[in-house]
């Protein structure tokens, strides 16, 4: 029972953590994952979230085995 977590770009630097694996908990949502990996740090309003490489809302349900990612606004191109 695990969830893979990624903090990308500036978020990984800010929280000194780019990847984590946490235990899955029934009823877990994306915002709960953030709280666990950042020890309850405030999430910036413009933070983007994804589950299994697809954009999602912060209240999206997280399933066992999912990969959850948090990242700042994108700046490619």
């Amino acid at each position: 029972m695990a969830v893979k977590v990624k903090l990308l770009a500036s978020l990984g630097e800010r929280h000194d953590r780019r990847e984590a694996v946490i235990d899955h908990v029934p009823g877990m949502r994306v915002a709960d994952v953030w709280d666990l990996v950042t020890s309850g740090a405030a999430m910036a309003p413009n933070t983007l979230t994804a589950i299994n490489f697809e954009y999602c809302r912060r209240d999206a349900a997280v399933a066992d085995g999912d990969e959850v990612a948090f990242f700042p606004p994108v700046t490619g191109g």
Partner: protein, 144 residues
């Protein structure tokens, strides 16, 4: 149709020539619209010496494949090409190449514009600039 994220420098004009020579777009394509994005040596009033481009491996490629397919569904284009750099860049280095081919120019222009605008607003890439006295993450893309 081709989508690629590359960690080595590329020449966009050679890429276009090679792609066309390899038979990507059909000979019925009377129009090709091309966008090339290049690293600048200044941003927000500061000299930028170098830049590192990061991406979210897996999600980025998936997103680019999706918008290329969406472009084909929305406009009568014959082909599309997206090539984007990651890694360490210096001023003048190409960052992105977007091209769309169609029978006539309207669809090629519209599809190419859609591809680059969606890429810049939704594809998970991030730029970190090296300045003369430190570094900074680019906070957001310009509107156009």
């Amino acid at each position: 149709m081709k989508v690629e994220v590359r960690d080595q420098p590329f020449d966009p004009w050679r890429e276009l020539a090679d792609y066309q020579a390899a038979g990507g777009p059909r000979t019925g394509s009377g129009a090709a619209a091309v966008f090339v994005g290049t690293m600048r040596d200044c941003n927000d009033g500061e000299r930028v010496r170098a830049m590192r481009l990061e991406h979210y491996a897996g999600m980025t490629e998936r997103h680019l494949e999706r918008i290329a397919a969406e472009a084909r569904a929305r406009w009568p284009i014959d082909d599309a090409l997206i090539l984007h750099r990651i890694g360490d860049l210096k001023p003048g280095d190409p960052i992105v190449l977007v091209a769309a081919w169609s029978a006539h120019r309207a669809a090629a222009f519209d599809a190419a514009r859609f591809l680059i605008e969606d890429l810049k607003s939704r594809a998970p890439f991030w730029k970190k600039e090296q300045l003369g006295d430190g570094s900074r993450w680019v906070a957001c893309n310009t509107a156009g």
